[in-house]
């Protein structure tokens, strides 16, 4: 099948990529653009390790064709830290509150938490748990992930007030 040229803005940078219609977005990100932060966990849209932000929505990039993302604006975990390497508030909070052990789910967790806090800057614990229910973690038992998101929420809202 003929390749199609698609335009993507990924972490602020414009890209033009030739893809096959059947290429999944996760493969284009990892193999063509070399952005290996989003992980392939289950490859069946259950685990959420491949979660990215696309046009203001969280999406499992293993269950989306790259052609469907044509023209879109994507943020992956690589786009969260500042240009000088300063960690994003959420990354800092995951470190501070020990929101990870092996780290495999972390890129997806952080991208999902990012969208959750954009939509709802002060979620309750229950809203956090429902908000991250599409992301599986096999190490932490979620306690510290929830605490990390609460911590980031506090930091972000106090930054706004200050």
């Amino acid at each position: 099948m003929a390749k199609t040229l698609i335009q993507l803005t990924v972490n602020g940078e414009p890209h033009e990529v030739a893809v096959n219609p059947r290429d999944l977005l996760i493969h284009t990100l990892r193999e063509t653009l070399g952005l290996t932060g989003a992980h392939i966990g289950c490859d069946t849209s259950h685990c959420g390790a491949c979660t990215i932000d696309i046009d203001g929505q969280s999406s499992k990039s293993c269950t989306m064709f790259a052609v469907q993302a044509n023209g879109s604006n994507i943020t992956t975990i690589e786009g969260m830290a500042g240009a000088d390497g300063t960690l994003h508030v959420l990354q800092e909070a995951f470190r501070e509150m020990h929101g990870l052990q092996c780290g495999f789910c972390t890129p997806g967790m952080i991208m999902r938490a990012h969208r959750l806090l954009e939509e709802n800057p002060t979620p309750t614990e229950e809203e956090i748990r429902i908000g991250i229910s599409g992301n599986l973690c096999r190490c932490t038992g979620y306690q510290n992930i929830v605490k990390a998101i609460q911590h980031a929420s506090e930091t972000l809202t106090s930054n706004v007030e200050a």
Binding site: M1, T4, N20, P21, R22, L24, H27, D43, T44, S45, H46, G48, T51, Q57, S58, S59, K60, T63, M64, F65, V67, Q68, R112, L116, E119, N120, P123, E126, E127, I130, G131, I132, S133, G134
Partner: protein
């Protein structure tokens, strides 16, 4: 898991989409959120040669509320949850959308894809039967309407013809003060129902004025429990009338034994879902327990 090769088409209008689907015939499939079709293509349980992407079509994206409620096929589950207007007149839509899959899948998955898919595990079809919805079907030949209660034939077999798509759904606005409940038993977040029931009813004093009950994943199609209306309307909700409704519902269930449980277990759980849904709907019909944990959602 990589799907087979296909050609990807992005029509600029509904008419263009319909001609593409007509020309593609059996080799072409419409695509909305892709949250059922892409997994099936990855497993090679589906291998269409042509995908016609309907997501960008503005004609399919509206929610309008009048005497009846109209929802375009491309409205996502996330948008259904976030619509305050819809929540105010028909809160069971939000309640049901919230127990479908998980947040990421709900941003992409649509009501049109969910009702057209034909998987008995999908939650919207039973709700549509409960609300007595009509599906609006369009092809290059024209437009026709089929009731949700008549649409499902067997697993993945529906009234849809080749080249025809669901463009929207329409149902009468439930009367204000109605009670509602969607009760779904599942093993974990993102799982299809072990058993689920949708109930909408209204009360007049202690008597049931109207009642509608439908079931998810308890046969190879969604099930509308026709007898529920006869049993409940004009009666009071008592242990006896609720028991009789459970029995009528269990009598038409034919779940398969699978990882979610044996046929017997799932049937019993189906009965329990009916009971809980009636009880909660009755509580809400009295005007209690309204409101939402999810009021913060913007869209």
């Amino acid at each position: 898991m990589i799907p087979g090769d296909f050609e990807f088409k992005q029509p600029a209008s509904k008419d263009e989409a319909l001609s593409m689907l007509r020309d593609g015939g059996d080799d072409a499939r419409p695509l909305l959120g892709g949250q059922s079709l892409i997994p099936m293509m990855k497993l090679r349980m589906a291998s269409p040669d042509i995908l016609v992407d309907l997501r960008g079509l503005d004609d399919l994206r509206h929610i309008s509320i009048g005497k009846s409620i109209h929802i375009g096929a491309a409205v996502t589950q996330h948008e259904l949850i976030g619509s305050e207007e819809l929540f105010n007149v028909c809160p069971i839509i939000r309640e049901t959308a919230l127990v479908i899959a998980d947040p990421q899948i709900r941003y992409s998955g649509t009501i049109g894809g969910n009702v057209a898919n034909g998987d008995p595990g999908n939650d919207m079809p039973a709700l549509m039967q409960c609300l007595d919805a009509t599906y609006i079907l369009e092809s290059s030949e024209g437009i026709r309407e089929v009731k949700a209660r008549d649409f499902y034939e067997a697993a993945y077999f529906t009234a849809l013809q080749t080249g025809e798509i669901v463009t929207g759904i329409r149902f009468p606005k439930p009367e204000s003060g109605h009670g509602y409940s969607y009760q779904k038993l599942k093993r974990k977040v993102g799982d299809y129902a072990t058993a689920a029931a949708a109930v909408v009813l209204s009360l007049s004093g202690d008597n049931v004025k109207s009642a509608s009950v439908a079931l998810t994943n308890l046969a190879d199609t969604p099930l509308f429990v026709e007898k529920a209306e006869d049993i409940l309307v004009g009666s009071q909700l008592t242990l006896n009338t609720i028991r009789a409704t459970m029995d009528a519902a269990e009598a038409i269930m034919e779940p398969v034994s699978d990882g979610r449980g044996s046929r017997e277990y799932r049937t019993k759980m189906g009965g329990i879902m009916v009971k809980r849904a009636i009880e909660q709907a009755a509580m809400r019909a009295d005007g209690t327990a309204k409101g939402g944990l999810f009021g913060w959602l913007k869209r």
